[in-house]
Symmetry: C2
Subunit: 291 residues, 2 copies
């Protein structure tokens, strides 16, 4: 078994982007990070994005509306960022408070600044295999992890667990694309799937994104499989200072010995998401320079 080291691969991408940004003419790229309210996980994610941006030479602008902001007010805020020529990328940190319509908010972000890839138009472009858009960061990061780990999906059976808009559906569309590295046969399973183990056991590449700790067990896989674990679940653990530990959707201890390659949690897909956000931001800056 060989471990897919997301931290190391993300660090290489960050280093590449740092060199790329240093060579960019004109002003530095600028990423607007909008965080509504004080959800502790969101606070930590936005801080991490801000730090990574600083490290590669991308400016960030942190905008912290109160949790009571209305949808109309948030739209106005986004419209201002859309119109601001000094802003290349806009990220509205998910999850939003329940009184806000998340899909509508993501759709409000101008497609050419939508570095999170959640705008409906950019999702459609993934289906169309149109590279002018932005691919959302987690699925883009998975494709990059696979490519940099020597995994070519051509002729492989890729089984995706989960049909979320943020991971399951876009990664299925990406794995299916008619291009080098992709070209997989793709099965999408979910909570309504009958006889799931019979399907997951067919996977040459298994991508788990369901948010259920340790759900995929050794009896559900074929020896030699490549496993990408997208889950980041908090499980109570009294031995930890924080009171919890992080675990993926895959029962690592039993699955890893059978897998050809596997991502750990943490340190697998997670770090890639931030790296791909930066890659999208630099892409947005290049496109705005070209205008």
């Amino acid at each position: 078994m060989s471990l897919i080291d997301g931290n190391a691969i993300a660090a290489r991408i960050i280093a590449e982007l740092t060199a790329e940004v240093a060579a960019l003419p004109g002003r530095r790229p600028c990423l607007a990070l909008v965080r509504v309210g004080e959800d502790p996980a969101s606070v930590s994610y936005v801080r991490k994005k801000e730090q990574t941006a600083a490290a590669i030479g991308v400016d960030s602008r942190i905008i912290l509306p109160a949790v009571t902001i209305t949808q109309g007010e948030l739209f106005t805020l986004i419209d201002d960022l859309n119109a601001d020529p000094g802003v290349d990328g806009i990220l509205v940190q998910s999850p939003l408070p329940k009184h806000l319509d998340e899909v509508a908010v993501f759709r409000r972000v101008a497609p050419h600044k939508d570095v999170d890839g959640f705008n409906t138009l950019n999702l459609g472009k993934v289906a169309q295999e149109d590279d002018t858009g932005f691919v959302s960061c987690t699925p883009a990061g998975i494709m990059e992890l696979l490519a940099r780990s020597g995994v070519d999906l051509k002729g492989k059976h890729v089984v995706v667990l989960g049909r979320s808009l943020i991971v399951g559906k876009p990664i299925a569309l990406l794995a299916l694309q008619k291009r080098a590295g992709a070209n997989g046969t793709v099965t999408i399973c979910h909570s309504g799937t009958s006889n799931l183990p019979a399907i997951t056991r067919q996977a040459d590449v298994l991508i788990a994104a369901i948010g259920r700790p340790d759900f995929v067990t050794a009896d559900m896989i074929k020896p030699g499989v490549v496993v990408i674990d997208v889950g980041i679940n908090r499980v109570a653990d009294a031995t930890k200072k924080s009171g919890y530990r992080l675990t993926g959707d895959v029962h690592f201890a039993s699955v890893a010995p059978l897998a050809a390659q596997i991502t750990p949690v943490p340190g697998g897909v997670g770090p890639m998401t931030v790296a791909m956000l930066m890659k999208n931001t630099v892409k947005a800056r290049r496109a705005s320079s070209a205008e």
Copy 2:
């Protein structure tokens, strides 16, 4: 084996729409049909759409640019239709001559008039399970055929042959949706799939959309499968006056006896496509009235 009669089901939808249109307040719905050049199949398709529109009380406006039209000129023509308050739906007949960028042309059609459902935004909405958009007519017709034939995809394994933008990808996204009638586990196969028969034999519902005559044979299916044949292939046949006969992607003679339900070609999916175009046009009219 029971035959899924697309002609009969489409006729029922047409009858429903006729009643619906008769009850609509204000002016009749209006569909603009743009056909570039004189491709014989396109001439026949556009005529059929015009006739069906007339039958249900939908006005149509036929626009026939010369085959030499430039992309810029076609964009201007589409912009004028987008801006015309008397036009509810716009269809640009595919295929376009090779000097025109089809995806860009479809993207130019205003999303709220895109009754063909080929605009990138409407494709993204299918992935988002957002009903405010338009689903492209062939996949929408397949879901309607299944629903009206008592086939519930819940817990079923749906195998889609083909990953086209017009059929394969949107029908996969529809079959996967978390809603009544859908909720299928979906596998998408294509020209790069290894060991295809082993996968198609798992299908509870098999949807063939690859454009290869008689490709799916009896050894590739499981007895009791529901087969939806989207292929419309012309095969040379000296016994026919036209010199050809139409055949699907499925070898009907050998597959039909094993199937629980199956669509014929012609008379299966084909008639549904025009019916769903009309349904989308009426939906567009209702939305424009509501403005």
